[in-house]
Amino acid sequence: MSSMKLMDLQKKLIAVARANPPSDRVPPTFEKRIMALIAGRPVQDIWAVWAKALWYAAAPCVAVMLLFSGWAFIESPKSNQTPTVDLAQQLDNTLLAAVDQSNNSAQ
């Protein structure tokens, strides 16, 4: 069979399918059967699902937070020790470096 004939056959079969739409007949008492299955099943509320998930996630989050707090407390330098590097001062210097440079060049 030539490819043209195949194309024609394809078109014809599509036309056959279009010309014969399936039936929309519903079996008797079908809705009653569905209603019986539905009885007792809750409608899924998306917000409730989210709230439940967040509630479940709360305990692990608190545990992780406590773990990190404890670790930070143990690792932090003692109050009587002076830090060898003053991080706050370094941050100040870095942020204000451009301003200092422009002041120097203006003088």
Partner: protein, 191 residues
């Protein structure tokens, strides 16, 4: 006084499950017609429609009311039918040697007089079903929606959740797949 769809849906969401029944009565014919495009046995069709309604009930909370309920339901129906096709794809027939006699005759008549053959012939309908059954699930879905139901690419994209380019690619592949199947029928029959 008859309640509107929005009122019925709101009542169901508040816990009045009985308000769901009018929706089932109204839209079941459409859902059955859709399911009959993808399944043949009446028991399978009823299973599909039942699953669509159970999903619709359970997911009703996600219906935002921006589009009509019917559109939302048909999206659910098409996706359930696609899941059905994917789960039954092993049942796809593998040989055309078992074409029935009326199907054989219809094909012979088509070869000799393409314009004279009847579109409403039972044999032609059986042949269409046979060809569609051989298609892969995405090809069958896209041929049904695009060629048989005459829907636009954009509509199919909304119904299936596929992107527009993906629908176009799958439509191209589906047509090629269908031609390949028809070529195989011709080869089996005439060689």
């Amino acid at each position: 006084m008859e309640r509107t769809e929005a009122e019925l849906i709101a009542a169901v969401l508040k816990g009045d499950a009985a308000s769901f029944e009018p929706l089932i009565e109204k839209y079941s014919p459409r859902v059955f017609a859709t399911a009959r495009r993808y399944a043949r046995r009446e028991s399978e069709i009823e299973d599909i429609v039942q699953e669509v309604w159970l999903k619709a009930y359970q997911k009703l909370g996600s219906f935002r009311g921006e589009a009509p309920f019917e559109h939302w339901l048909m999206r659910l129906a098409v996706r359930t039918c696609y899941d059905f096709l994917r789960s039954h794809q092993r049942n796809r027939e593998s040989a055309f040697s078992d074409l029935s006699e009326p199907e054989d005759d219809w094909l012979d008549r088509f070869i000799s007089q393409p314009r004279a053959v009847r579109e409403d012939a039972e044999a032609a309908q059986q042949l269409v079903q046979r060809v569609l059954q051989h298609l892969s699930p995405p090809a069958r879905l896209v041929i049904t929606l695009l060629e048989i139901e005459d829907r636009s690419v954009k509509e199919i994209s909304k119904l299936t959740g596929w992107s527009v380019p993906l629908v176009k690619v799958r439509a191209f592949r589906a047509r090629a797949e269908m031609r390949k199947i028809l070529a195989k029928i011709a080869k089996d029959k005439y060689l």
